[in-house]
Symmetry: C3
Subunit: 159 residues, 3 copies
């Protein structure tokens, strides 16, 4: 980080975001695997108030709900990143987002839902934030979650 | 590229393919992110005649339609690659394709649909073309698109 | 491999697992693509008794069926890895699993299904086994397969 730049934590603070404790894996896996300087973060399922945010876009949930859910997932992903790296400022690049929206067969606004995560990454990581992504609608998500997002991140140095 | 090899552009020309201008991202992301020599291309949604090709495989679209759509997506992916690299001949390897077909719960020919893209990569990139892939049917795709494909590519040199 | 460690093959033997011949790609692609020390394995579709194991979780198949199917896919993935590397002991890390369950719109136990693969990787690869993963439910899978899993693996040395 250049000394004239705001740190990632300053930006989170300015947005009023407090990172929660990193989540635990709900199965026989880990929340993040590192190979070289590349981190693969497991699919994080939307949670609020300490429980999975269940529901289907286009049925009981609106696009606005989905955007809010994706925003919350992005915060949880950053919590996992913080716990793994110890310093979010060593993120060189948010590389790729895969965003799954639990969708009816008619709901077609997965891109808007996913912007709830993508826009937060752009705000927080600035020039390190622009990422490739895929967004699509799936038949279901574990625990009935409404949104699931996985992430690939490049670090500037080995953590 | 060895001097005795046809360039990628010669092969495209022989196939009668003219690369369109690279598409723009439909949200808060970019169409390609590079880490080291590896490119991650965002999910590209099938378009024809300048608009999203919407529809569901097994409902209003046939397997043949899906193959044609995947072929068009592969052309758009190559346009993105060309815009990013400036020279498709520096592609060392088409590494992985993830291909999503907007499918009814009964349509089971996602592999045939995806061949519309895979076969074009084999034709154009020759020994650099064979790739790993996953193909499956999803509940929906942004804008109702019929096919969405994302791509991982390795370059021979930094672009 | 340290001399005091059991080899991957000893562990497979202790579990009574005999690796089958590696499967062939059902389309214009390959079962594994290598870039540097990283392997990308194509989505492997559940098979038993020499044929695709078709069916939908939450309809004609139970969570237990799905767990068994994911276990079989993990064995097939290891067969592909063995054929490609010649020695599974050079696996440095099972990096990431993407696991697709052919699901009704109501089935929400994709994480349990996927544990059928994840737990086998943990048993066989020990400290190299913990991986990131995403698991979700899709509308369909080629040939109607009940489970499809793709894998990213890091090798200790170039193979």
């Amino acid at each position: 980080m250049k000394t004239t730049e705001l740190s990632v934590y300053d930006k989170l603070g300015a947005l009023g975001i407090v990172l929660p404790p990193a989540g635990a894996a709900g199965g026989a896996y880990v929340m993040v695997a590192q190979t070289g300087n590349t981190l693969f973060l497991s699919g994080h399922i939307a949670r609020r108030n300490g429980a999975v945010w269940a529901g289907k876009l286009g049925k009981e949930l609106t696009t606005g709900d989905g955007i809010a859910a994706a925003h919350l997932v992005a915060i949880d992903l950053m919590a996992t990143l913080h716990a793994h790296t110890g310093d979010l400022n060593i993120v060189k690049r948010i590389v790729k987002v895969m965003s799954l929206a639990n969708s009816t067969t008619e709901f077609v606004e997965q891109h808007l839902v996913t912007n709830g995560a993508s826009e937060l990454f752009l705000q927080v990581f600035a020039e390190s934030g622009p990422h490739a992504r895929s967004a699509f609608g799936v038949a279901q998500i574990p625990f009935g979650g409404c949104v699931e997002i996985e992430l690939i991140v490049e670090l500037a140095v080995h953590s």
